[in-house]
């Protein structure tokens, strides 16, 4: 594996791991409620097991080691050696977080301290079986493997062994890999020619193997057939006196093994796992050295030493040249020659399987040229099938068109064809619409992807704040654009934290006022028109508008006049203002008063809006309205001087024509009177730096914009019409202009800019951060 492959593998693993961790988290939370559910324990174990397995394969050694310990504990729970106590589950949940951190590190990073790692391991240590037992086991094995032994193996395969894809002869060949083998084949069961069935195995074998490997190694060779054969492996107690040629043969076998292992170790180094590779190489060379010493092979000893030194230098970092592999291979080659040259009989040695050659290739990691990771999207197979079906239908429909051309050429009456052509056109257009809708739907993902992290959040908050809280989630299937899904997690986290921290009362308080002891947070999503609404509702103490207003004035966030003019909701929205916090003591959980204005910014950035409803003593509800899809939007095209711009539909409350007289100037601010309500007015032409409109017509076209900060009227030259467009983000210089959110390509191929109605007012009237007519005298 070269570097590019490894990168690709690791990228896949990180995606897979994120899914596994999410599932693990869910399973652990459920297990906490029902610690005896064996199926859940199994699910937890399986997830960890897969995480460990794939992690090891992708080269995440540190993560693998870490998960191994946690998995071990759950293995014990699974085998009913211990119970899933709150303590264990708590540690396991933390281990998920820790894995997320470890996944962000370089896969080879073993050093960067991760405090959580130590914390989790310390918490689990009492539950882990003694590590000493494992150590003792390997030591014993090593002792056993040192002494060569002779084994008598009787092997009678099942008659139908071929049907499991096994060739018994291959096993005998494999035995010759680990030692000297004498074979005796028993053919007495063979059938006469007419009864002989070539698909059956009639042979059995008596084998004598002399090997330095433990019995385990022999069993390993037979591991796949143990159930399909009669097998007995007996260590022959009487080891015949070592003859000189036997000794030579053993030495030769050991040497071959060492070189083979060395080859693999180098390969491992080249595939990127230098640490592990060098460890294996070191071990192989050490063994080779001791074999040479035992044999008294002086040339061998001399030739092997340089390899050992080289490995040591590389491990100590003394050799930084990445081309050391070539150097190392040369050393190994000369050692191999030195050892083999004095060997007389090499011809009988079975040819070793060729080592796979590793060819270095330029990396092909899936990274875009600018270095940002390539984005991938998981697509539901049904959607993909629908797409293929539509593409097919479209091809068929297109096929009808040349036929029309032929008919026109043949001078068929065009009139009779008109209907048919219209029908064909309608068909193509329907297919095109469907095609677009399906392509769009591929970008849509269920909000479950974001929601699934919140049960854990609420649980952790409950523990940290010592409050009882339940999270009720609904509408997880509601779909949102991928971009929205990816950006909505943080704002929701802030809102939920805020609800848990400031909304829900303490246990004692809830009991005192007669509320159920467990606080309730409802998280729901549903579709409304082309928007998706996400609600976070708590049954806590609610927001106190008066207190908020007072606080806003004290903090100097708003002028007393502005505050006085605020309605209930505007007052609630004070908590979304930058630098606002109702608590003097900053809690660790809700952040340092920076949280909630982040919420507003993120939601506005997604062209969404926030509404807050609250009732003292009953609770608070945050309602976030988001466009379900960012790409296709409906909008109103308006004319402005000689050009046109687009206003996003979701921000428009209504469009009216007002008599000139209804617009007045009060304290330098233009306002409009509309059906009993008053709104500040902004001239779009002025806002977009075109020109000041001097002579207005009698009727003025005003678009009433519903911005999160409050409504305002936008004066345009005239309304052009409603359009459905694909909006693309701006790039280059235009991307730095906050007045626009993107560009839309119109049906005729022209491009129009999409106005950022959400921020336009604030940009033009920074002194009036809330347009809600804040500083204006109320009586007009």
């Amino acid at each position: 594996m070269d570097f590019g492959d490894l990168e690709q593998l690791q990228a896949s693993f990180r995606r897979e791991a994120a899914d596994l961790l999410a599932d693990l988290n869910d399973a652990l939370l459920m297990l906490e409620h029902d610690p005896r559910d064996a199926e859940l324990v199994n699910r937890v174990f399986r997830s960890m097991h897969t995480l460990k397995g794939s992690g090891a394969s992708a080269g995440y050694r540190r993560l693998t080691n870490f998960v191994h310990h946690v998995e071990e504990v759950f293995n014990r729970i699974r085998n009913q050696k211990m119970e899933a106590t709150g303590e264990v589950i708590d540690a396991a949940l933390k281990s998920c977080d820790c894995c997320t951190i470890l996944l962000q590190l370089q896969s080879s990073d073993m050093e960067t301290p991760v405090p959580l790692e130590a914390e989790v391991l310390a918490a689990l240590l009492p539950f882990l079986p003694e590590a000493a037992a494992a150590g003792a086991g390997t030591a014993q094995e090593r002792a056993e493997s040192d002494a060569p032994a002779r084994y008598k193996i009787e092997f009678q395969p099942a008659r139908d062994i071929f049907f499991s894809g096994t060739d018994p002869a291959s096993l005998l060949l494999e035995l010759t890999d680990i030692g000297a083998l004498r074979v005796r084949c028993e053919t007495s069961d063979l059938m006469s020619c007419e009864d002989f069935n070539p698909e059956q195995c009639y042979l059995r074998w008596e084998l004598h193997l002399e090997t330095a490997e433990p019995e385990r190694a022999i069993r390993e060779i037979f591991q796949f057939v143990e159930q399909d054969c009669d097998l007995s492996i007996n260590r022959e107690t009487h080891v015949p006196a070592v003859q000189s040629d036997g000794r030579e043969e053993r030495f030769r076998g050991a040497v071959e093994q060492c070189f083979f292992a060395l080859g693999f170790a180098l390969e491992l180094c080249q595939s990127g796992d230098e640490r592990q590779g060098l460890t294996s190489a070191d071990r192989a060379v050490q063994t080779l050295l001791s074999a040479c010493k035992a044999q008294g092979h002086q040339a061998g000893i001399t030739a092997v030493h340089p390899i050992l030194d080289a490995i040591r230098s590389i491990r100590e970092g003394a050799i930084l040249d990445s081309g050391w592999h070539t150097h190392m291979q040369a050393l190994i080659r000369s050692a191999s020659e030195a050892i083999h040259s004095t060997q007389v009989d090499l011809s009988s040695l079975e040819e070793l399987p060729a080592l796979p050659v590793i060819v270095a290739r330029p990396g092909n990691a899936p990274e875009a040229a600018n270095g940002t990771p390539a984005q991938s999207i998981r697509v539901d197979a049904d959607k993909l099938n629908a797409l293929m079906r539509l593409a097919g239908e479209l091809l068929v429909a297109r096929g009808a068109l040349p036929a029309f051309a032929d008919r026109i050429e043949r001078n068929e009456s065009p009139k009779s064809m008109a209907k048919e052509m219209r029908d064909a056109g309608a068909k193509v257009s329907r297919l095109a619409d469907d095609l677009q809708a399906t392509v769009m739907s591929i970008r849509m993902m269920p909000v479950r992807q974001v929601f699934q992290r919140f049960p854990r959040l609420v649980r952790d908050l409950g523990r940290a704040l010592d409050k009882n809280m339940e999270l009720h989630v609904s509408g997880e299937e509601t779909e949102l654009d991928k971009t929205v899904i990816e950006s909505i997690g943080d704002p929701l986290t802030h809102i939920i934290r805020n609800a848990a921290d400031h909304g829900i009362e303490s246990k004692a308080e809830r009991t005192r006022i007669g509320k159920p002891p467990a606080g309730r947070i409802d998280l729901s999503a549903y579709t409304r028109g082309s928007n998706v609404v996400i609600e976070v509702k708590d049954d806590g103490k609610g927001l106190d508008a008066e207190k908020l207003k007072q606080r806003a004035i004290e903090k100097g966030l708003f002028s007393p006049g502005a505050v006085a003019a605020m309605d209930q909701e505007a007052a609630y929205k004070i908590i979304l203002a930058a630098g606002f916090s109702t608590l003097d003591t900053v809690t660790d959980l809700s952040g340092r008063g920076v949280g909630m204005d982040v919420v507003r910014n993120s939601v506005e950035g997604l062209r969404g809006a926030i509404h807050i409803q609250s009732e003292i003593g009953k609770g608070t509800c945050f309602r976030i309205e988001l466009p379900a899809s960012l790409l296709v939007s409906r909008g109103i095209l308006v004319a402005l001087g000689g050009q046109q711009v687009l206003l996003p539909m979701e921000s428009i409350r209504k469009m009216v024509k007002l008599p000139k007289a209804d617009i007045r100037t009060v304290q330098g601010q233009q306002i409009a009177h509309m059906r009993g309500a008053i709104f500040p007015i902004l001239y779009l032409a002025e806002a977009l730096c075109s020109e000041r409109i001097e002579d207005l017509k009698e009727d003025i076209a005003v678009v009433l914009i519903e911005a999160t900060a409050g409504p305002y009227g936008l004066v345009v030259d005239r309304f052009v019409g409603e359009v459905e467009v694909v909006v693309t983000p701006l790039s280059g210089v235009l991307a730095t202009m906050p007045e626009y959110v993107g560009a839309a390509i119109m049906g005729d191929g022209k491009t129009v800019l999409v106005v950022n109605t959400e921020r336009l007012f604030a940009l033009q009237r920074p002194q009036l951060a809330t347009p809600g007519l804040a500083a204006l005298p109320v009586a007009i």
């Binding site: 593998l9 995606r15 399986r46 794939s54 090891a56 992708a58 096994t166 491992l268 399987p353 796979p356």
Partner: protein
């Protein structure tokens, strides 16, 4: 060496499929991937493979059923089929053997272990 050896790798985990593919194609084998037993069976019935490597737990059709179905095909009577299991317990191995699997490899495995098993069953 003669004809190039073609291996079918069946696993629902992309990571595992990639690992298997990379390891084996480096070693000079051709690897064809399938995401579940059913897809694996489809591919196996139109193209002969020299070895089939399959995960056990997969949606649609698991590894055990894949082995049983493959063994029913004349072309796969004697083909080595290796199961990739996460369970290291004996029962799974026995079940696999009973279904007709040649052997197994237990996850997690190092690339060289995989190569060793493939070399072993190919011999």
């Amino acid at each position: 060496m003669g004809k190039k050896i073609v291996i079918l790798a069946v696993d629902d985990s992309l990571t595992m499929r990639q690992l298997v593919k990379m390891t084996l194609s480096r070693a000079g084998y051709d690897v064809v991937e399938a995401e579940d037993g059913a897809k694996g069976l489809d591919k196996a019935s139109v193209q002969p493979f020299d070895i089939v490597l399959s995960d056990v737990n997969m949606p649609v059709m698991g590894g055990m059923d894949l082995v049983r179905n493959l063994r029913k095909l004349a072309a796969y009577k004697f083909t080595p089929i290796v199961l990739i299991t996460t369970e290291s317990q004996l029962e799974k191995k026995l079940e696999g053997k009973a279904a007709g699997a040649t052997g197994w490899i237990t996850k997690p495995f190092e690339p060289e272990q995989l190569l060793a098993v493939v070399t072993k069953v190919l011999r």
